[in-house]
Symmetry: C2
Subunit: 160 residues, 2 copies
DNA sequence: CTAGATTATTACACATGTTAATTATCACTC
DNA sequence: GAGTGATAATTAACATGTGTAATAATCTAG
């Protein structure tokens, strides 16, 4: 099945907004986050703080700041500040790596784990709402395509 | 074609990161924006400033602040500040609506139009790179799915 | 042991998110 | 037509984030 005629670039030489990938990703994300934000606000978490907690929870082992920033799509300085905040709330713990004292190993505290596991099921309800509206299989496909796109664009193989 | 087995929620009751829609949208957007950002930086534009310019350019007529904010996925106060900045750079012009003096009609200045039309073709090259990696038809499908998702989630029909 | 590289934090300048307050104007009613 | 409530936009205030650069601490290699 063809996707139909592709709109030609406008006379002005700029892609129409509908054809803007970053715009489409942003508005889709905004519409999804609107459903999740109240829940995070209830727990006094910003999106970025939540991304850090979630990333730590997903990791099987403690993470250093660099990899953590990369995985959570944040800059290292931002992560540093976020960690300072989360540490003051006793949601994470830092351990200095034995073999290399520069490195900090970050992991969730028991309290941090509890928080993530408290929020998890709450967010699951929202996912069910999303799947009810958009379709389960369809969402799975979309997630795979997004992951594939990310992989292909991350690859630094810029043209020679 | 089935999408295969869906990972069950983890024992901890939280969706794996791969299954997080906001996360997937964010990382995809990040990987795309990484390709565009240098171009915007060259023109001293932030992503948000660019979204405003692009939105104005896409509109057939001047926009008021409210609709502009909505279309660009920004909050009105942010748009106010961005407009102050863009106005000081002579990229936009404000006109007070004749029939309602509260309303401001924002449009691109000639200089603003030129800038958008200068950047447009530059960004087109990046799109071609994206399509080369991801596929043209595939990108079209993704854009349609994102648009559909946005529409379905924007709808305030929360369950009764 | 020292020079250079690496990890993380700090510093700084700036932009944005977010809520609330403020200003100006409009629309409507008495 | 004066007063009241609604509306559009801005401003304020504060927290937080981004992005670059500088710094501190530590490691690694010669």
């Amino acid at each position: 099945m063809s996707s139909g005629p592709t709109p030609a670039p406008t006379a002005s030489g700029i892609r129409s907004i509908d054809q803007s990938l970053p715009m489409a990703l942003l508005t889709a994300r905004e519409s999804a986050m609107r459903l999740f934000r109240p829940m995070l606000a209830d727990h006094d978490l910003t999106e970025q703080q939540w991304r850090v907690l979630r990333t730590l929870h997903a990791s099987s082992e403690p993470l250093e700041v660099g990899p953590l920033a990369e995985l959570a799509s944040l800059l290292a300085p931002s992560v540093s500040r976020i960690l300072a905040n989360l540490e003051s709330r006793h949601l994470i713990v830092r351990t200095v790596a034995a073999h290399d004292q520069r490195r900090a190993a970050i992991s969730l505290s028991a309290q941090g784990s509890s928080l993530v596991e408290l929020i998890g099921p709450e967010s699951e309800a929202t996912y069910e709402e999303i799947e009810r509206r958009f379709g389960h299989e369809r969402l799975q496909l979309l997630l795979r395509e997004l992951s594939e796109l990310t992989m292909l664009l991350a690859n630094p193989q810029t043209e020679p």
